[in-house]
Amino acid sequence: MSEELEKSYCVFGIGEREFLIPKENVIQVLEIIRIFPIPGSPDYIVGALPVKGKIIPAIDLAKVYNIERLNYSESKLVVIIDVKGEKIGILSDTTPFFVNFEPDIVVEDIIEPDKLFEKLKVSQKPSEKANDK
């Protein structure tokens, strides 16, 4: 009954921090098999990732939010999210999982995909456009 009222989020970890992203934006969680570095790209773009025959940028949010990793373990998982029809891969240091809770609990560290996208777009515009081609 209350399940319907609850909102679902995908939780993933960057360093020791947890971020939440609305479940509806998450397409899938993948294990990184190959990642192609993109020369000249901003440092938060780790590289390009082939997903279902398409190349999508993989982003390390640690660089975006200036998070220090205490124990740097190479993250092997990536959360593929959809923002306005475009796909972005976000690296996760932990195995992502889903949580539900009531919407009246105001939680910090929720990533709103639109805002994230805007934020990234501003700084990465030239290089990303170039890489898309």
Partner: protein, 390 residues
């Protein structure tokens, strides 16, 4: 001596480790769980004094955890502190919605955590102390109301008597001020006489003041009403107290056995697996431990390359068999044996096991679904150990 048992539920291994180490250094007994589900299970078996719980966790979130805990008979009174990295508003929401005692921001310094835990636990003990005092008051009230129902009138009589006696005796005192020594003895004698005389008069006179006193003492009238069934109340209170007490004692005893085993690394996880060497434990002790805790599961003992297997249901042995016996009997199913044969096999297994001193054992809690097992004959360890001796 541990200052108290604390259960920490958090999915982050670093947070778990950090909190565990710092709280252990501070003298607490720390149990950890990596998600809500595990946390609830551990909480039920451990019965901690305080639970620290994270909000964002897989399987069961902190909010669900609190909800379940409040619905659970065993856990509902255990105070919970929320640990969250998701802002003050989450903590506030939890206090309002889920009855969380307090919240704590992540990331934290270990000193801060210890301080928080200590202040919370002391607050709880104060709170508990108050409730005990309240209960004592309750008992006293009940007792008082019982006594008051009769003595009140008597007291009033005596008061009135003494007052009148004083006034009369003081008159006499004024008259015979010079002979004080004799006066004293007279004073004592005279009131007695007066009492006898006055009593009849007083009882008559009391009837009038009693009516006059009623408006001034409404409390006492209500107390009198309450006193109609005070014995029931006292019985209930005593019963509750006893139950609480025995629960506490039982948990203390359990905890001490468990903690002793845990200290020496004999129990990996107190709630699930019991393991160790026969050099440290006598076989009988292990059996009795399982029996007294009414555990259900499989005890495997390895001695000289032979594995023994004992099945326990609610602390009682269903069967025991060694690998050698298994080879002899040709791996028949349990149902193919008669209860006599099973008992014989169990006794054989036990007697051969008792000859060897060195070995290791592991007990795993399992829940059996096959109800046939529950219809099997079961034996208590002492029942089986005694025939072996003879």
């Amino acid at each position: 001596m541990s200052k108290g048992k604390i259960l920490l539920v958090d999915d982050s291994p670093i947070v778990r480790k950090l909190a565990e180490v710092s709280l252990q250094e501070a003298g607490y007994e720390v149990y950890t769980a990596s998600d809500g589900e595990e946390g609830l299970k551990t909480a039920e078996t451990v019965k901690p004094d305080l639970i620290l719980v994270d909000f964002i966790m897989p399987k069961i979130t902190g909010s669900q955890f609190c909800k379940f805990a409040k619905e659970n008979e065993i856990l509902k009174d255990i105070p919970i502190i929320l640990i969250t990295g998701k802002g003050e508003s989450v903590g506030q929401a939890f206090i309002e919605k889920y009855g969380v005692l307090d919240y704590f921001m992540k990331p934290f310094k270990s000193e801060d955590l210890i301080e928080k835990v200590e202040s919370t636990l002391s607050r709880i003990s104060e709170f508990k102390y108050e409730t005990v005092e309240e209960e004592i008051k309750k008992v006293e009230d009940v007792l008082l109301s019982q006594e008051i129902s009769l003595p009140e009138e008597i007291q009033e009589i005596s008061f009135d008597l003494t007052e009148e006696i004083k006034t009369e005796s003081s008159k006499e005192e004024l008259e015979i001020t010079e002979i004080q020594e004799i006066k004293l003895s007279e004073e004592i004698k005279e009131p007695q006489e007066l009492e006898e005389i006055k009593e009849t008069q007083e009882i008559e006179s009391i009837e009038i003041p009693e009516e006059a006193l009623f408006p001034s003492m409404p409390e006492e009238t209500t107390k009198l009403e309450e006193a109609i069934k005070p014995s029931d109340e006292i019985d209930k209170l005593i019963e509750d107290k006893l139950r609480e007490f025995s629960e506490k004692i039982i948990s203390v005893v359990d905890a001490s056995v468990e903690s002793a085993l845990k200290k020496y690394g004999l129990i990996k996880d107190s709630s699930f697996i019991l393991s160790g060497f026969l050099d440290f434990f006598k076989l009988e002790e292990i059996f009795n431990l399982i029996n007294s805790n009414k555990l259900t599961g499989i005890l495997s003992v390895f001695v000289n390359g032979i594995a023994y297997e004992f099945m326990f249901i609610e602390g009682q042995i269903v069967y025991g068999i060694s690998t050698l016996q298994k080879q002899k009997t040709g791996f028949k199913l349990l149902n193919e044996f008669s209860s006599e044969e099973i008992k014989q096999l169990t006794l054989e297994a036990l007697s051969s096991l008792r000859k060897s001193q060195h070995g290791s054992f592991i007990f795993e809690i399992k829940q059996f679904s096959d109800f046939n097992l529950f219809n099997k004959e079961r034996y208590s360890p002492s029942e089986l150990f005694n025939p072996v001796i003879h």
